[in-house]
Symmetry: C2
Subunit: 191 residues, 2 copies
């Protein structure tokens, strides 16, 4: 259904709705920027100004956009890390994300230029959020040294990805808090 060409401020929303509808109807593999443009009633140029590939568009819509922000300050490093881990579990456990993430990862791995943009757009942003959480903790005196945000990111995201997409199971109850504890211990944090 063509809804009429949306005004520029509404393009993001029209694209997001079209991506979700098309994923629900046919899955990730047959999705294309052409089909999304047609369904959303927007020009392809408008889509390509925002995202350079199908994979980036889908990841941005389904997993997280460019507005990833640190969770509210809980007052402790453990609380902040557990909140972020819980957020990642929720994002990746959503049915849309479960359906598309493994295909996205395969697309990214097969295309070095896409892999580089993906790392710069999304992974660096996630690491920056971790960096802000670790800086808060250093400010409170909870960390003995500036933390390694990339390592903390891998320790949070990696096990969640493993439970959801590699080991055929569900993240066990309490995983966010256990991961927060593992990161605290790995960074030598005081509690």
């Amino acid at each position: 259904m063509n809804r009429g060409r949306p005004r520029s401020g509404h393009i993001d929303q029209a694209v997001a709705e079209a991506v979700r509808e098309l994923l629900g109807e046919h899955g990730y593999q047959p999705l294309s920027i052409d089909k999304v443009a047609a369904r959303a009633g927007v020009g392809k140029a408008g889509i390509y100004r925002r995202w350079r590939s199908k994979a980036e568009m889908v990841f941005s819509v389904v997993v997280h956009g460019t507005r990833l922000v640190p969770p509210a300050d809980t007052g402790t490093l453990r609380g902040d890390l557990a909140a972020l881990a819980g957020h990642i579990v929720a994002l990746l456990s959503a049915p849309d994300a479960r359906a598309v993430v493994p295909g996205l990862v395969a697309d990214i791995a097969a295309d070095p230029a896409l892999a580089e943009r993906f790392a710069a757009e999304f992974i660096d942003r996630e690491r920056a959020v971790l960096g802000e959480i670790l800086d808060r903790a250093a400010g409170r005196g909870e960390l003995p040294a500036p933390g390694d945000a990339a390592f903390a990111h891998a320790l949070l995201l990696g096990p969640i990805f493993t439970y959801l997409f590699l080991s055929g199971g569900e993240p066990p109850p309490g995983l966010p808090d256990r991961l927060a504890g593992a990161v605290l211990a790995a960074l030598g944090a005081k509690e």
Copy 2:
């Protein structure tokens, strides 16, 4: 090239060589059990007796077979975990593995029956290796309680997978020892 039908004891080796050759020539996507059988000069039935899908055959040949065993006892939990993490880094960093693992993960995620067999065949075996390492540590008095092998497995495998396949980079130097330290701390091990 048909090398003549190999004797049954040599089927594994003939299949492994054919899989590696075909991956090198055309990559993962166009590989099929038919093509492997033809290249190896073995019957398809012999392949299907060993593996029930292309994904299982390729994972077994390229990443690890059914003979995964715990690394030699290093005398400490930290040493055993670092040795295992180093082994996983080496397995997944090999050019063949880099080329096929993301496509395998996507295939597995798209097929619940395959996901179940993959978890039973490979993930459970990896967790059993971790379990044996944790049991050794408990026997030495290094662990206060029986360790959670599935959690330790996710803490080792997940970050390695993240560095290699999600964040577009290389595992940083010293990663195996840092991961061993994170697992020790998460399990409350004495050093």
